[in-house]
Amino acid sequence: MNKKFSAARNFVLSAALVAAGLGSAHAEDKVKVGLMLPYTGTYAALGNAITNGFKQFVEENGGKLGGREVEYFTVDDESNPAKATENAKKLVSREKVDVLVGTVHSGVALAMAKVARDTKTLMIIPNAGANDLTGPLCSPYVFRSSFSAWQPSYAMGEALAKKGVKNVATVTWKYSFGEESVAGFKEAFEKGGGKVVKEMTLPFPNVEFQPFLTEIASAKPDAVFVFFAGAGAAKFVSDYAAAGLKSSIPLYGPGFLTDGNLAAMGGAGEGLLTTLHYADGLTNAKDAAFRTKYAQTYKMQPDVYAVQGYDAAQMYEAGLKAAGGDPAKQEEVIKGMASATIDSPRGAFTLSKAHNPVQDIYMRQVKGDQNVVVEVVSKGLEDPARGCKL
């Protein structure tokens, strides 16, 4: 990188620091939280759940983070990567937020992470699972309160291999999250002695699954592993059951297959086993309190997305506490977050060097409208963070 650049950047940075200094001279300023989440479009429900979770923690914390009042700046990212950089910049350079929280869509999160890195802004990802975010693109400024695509799928691969399943066919959308999930599954499953006999993909967001069901019926693998989420997941599970395959060839997948979709499947999901870092029927006290409060406040049951939003706030609180409540002391905030143990409704977790949760992965089974925990299949699973140099 040339000198001119660093000189210019230093100038900009020092200007920013001066500005920040002036800001804190006004003393006990509010903490500025930038929420960049989908509030319209396909993922709107997830964006709302994350926001609810985040705000619930702040409420429980006396309306404050790090002892300061919280001021929210909200941007609807529309799950549109084409507008992502601009939206993130709006929060960072115009609103001068202390922390950027977002988002659901991986492509949008990647654009945000670039802004966070370039502007040295703290960022907490409350969902997007792209491995790269805490892999080759990892950064001291970027944290994740959710999961990497690798985690739940790897755990499922291990579990199926242990069960003695030999041949598995996979189906997913042809996009990064799906392909990373299948890769994580395959890695663990083949390490454990199984074999992925058929890998099938279809263009996102196509939901005409019938051709694949026919292929599965003809190949007759021991089991099928799929990654789908949202409406596509509901449709796949319904179609799979309607084709009569559910009784003969068991279906597995990361928990996104069933989370938030059970009502839409209308019973077709009953009995399915999925892996995720959260489940219904956990027995820790934190979860019970979280769920009661959430149900009271928002008149609906919380889901994994609400938990991830809640934990994003918890992580930031831990960082601020370590920095004596001053968001401007960014290095200390980062240290505090990186070394914190987060008492999450999902069970306590710590953060890996790459800032991804090191967490238990649960095997869950669909019972009625719940994903009930069966067991912990992988204790303290850490994403390998390949390509991360932190």
Binding site: M1, T40, D76, L110
Partner: protein
């Protein structure tokens, strides 16, 4: 408006734009920079829609191809030379437009709209489904191209102010270039094709060649916009090629008033400003946006450029009574 007044107005606008970096607010420098990029993009489409009468509903493809070209052609850890990636990206977009033009220009009317859309979708899926450009997640442009020529660096694109002026100069150049083109025999032939293609043919024009020329040129200029976008933001995604983006740029064109370059630039500003203001105003901004679009189509057929004329007519009407 007489010629002189209009020239002064245009110079004023450029001068005003040139003052934007003086604010020192990096957000505004970047957002205005982005709008200028979109203005270039909209002008390139106006060449087709407004002047040649070809309603392309897949113009985002050329924008996206050039944007991806910079990201793919730039090495991962160092800056590529601007003097290589700029012509290469524009060239790739122009090539794509030329090849696609050979096919789509065989069709007319609604078919033309739909076929341009289909080809843009193909380009979208190529970037979305293959590892070529990072798949659905898109890819970073880690280092902005360097403008150095034999060690001498006239300007530095990593500097946001330099970047802004680079974009502004490009926009002015594109404007002047298109104005010039439209006054040339080639440009007059295009306008002739728009008003009556059969007549042009009977006058001995090979209209297909003219249309292909316009289509390629529009693709190249759209590519320039895409190139600038990628360098400005350092991130490209398949969504840049989606039909929504093609729709948005059409909207800028019609908002500004087809066949009117300064109007189209104003259209780009109005469109982006509307999105900003509405999104800040309410969670339900899409409702407002949709409402405005419907209203513009129903009540403002000439776009923004038609407003002065309307006011004039209204005032004259008032005087007469």
């Amino acid at each position: 408006m007489n010629v002189q007044a209009s020239l002064i107005l245009k110079l004023l606008v450029v001068a005003l734009l040139a003052c934007v970096p003086l604010t020192g607010e990096s957000f505004y420098i970047e957002i205005v920079g982005k709008i200028l990029v979109m203005a270039i993009f909209a002008m390139s489409l106006d060449l087709l829609v407004g002047f040649t009468g070809l309603v392309s509903f897949g113009h985002a493809a050329y924008f996206g191809i050039a944007a991806y070209a910079v990201a793919i052609l730039s090495p991962q850890y160092e800056a590529a030379s601007l003097w290589y990636v700029l012509p290469a990206s524009i060239g790739l977009s122009a090539l794509a437009a030329f090849v696609i033009g050979l096919f789509v220009l065989r069709t007319k009317g609604i078919y033309f709209i739909m076929v341009t859309l289909a080809f843009a979708q193909m380009a979208y899926f190529i970037f979305h489904d293959t590892p070529l450009g990072g798949g659905s997640d898109g890819m970073y442009l880690n280092n902005k191209p360097s403008a150095a020529i034999f060690g001498w660096e006239p300007f530095d694109l990593t500097n946001e102010v330099h970047m802004f002026y680079f974009i502004l100069v490009m926009m002015v150049l594109v404007y002047l270039f298109l104005t010039r083109i439209l006054q040339s025999p080639f440009g007059r032939a295009l306008v002739g094709i728009k008003s009556n293609e059969h007549r042009m043919q009977s006058l001995g024009y090979f209209t297909f060649r003219y249309k292909l020329g316009a289509f390629t040129l529009a693709g190249a200029l759209g590519g320039l916009a895409g190139f600038l976008y990628a360098v400005l933001f350092g991130f490209v995604t398949p969504e840049l090629l989606s039909w929504h983006e093609s729709g948005n740029v059409l909207l800028m064109v019609i908002l500004g008033g087809m066949g009117n370059l300064p109007g189209v630039i104003a259209g780009a500003f109005a469109f982006e400003a509307m999105r900003e203001v509405f999104a800040d105003l309410t969670k339900y901004w899409q409702l407002l946006m949709g409402g405005v679009i419907v209203a513009v189509v129903l009540f403002l057929p000439g776009g923004l450029a038609g407003i002065p004329g309307r006011i004039k007519r209204a005032m004259q009407g008032g005087d007469a009574k």
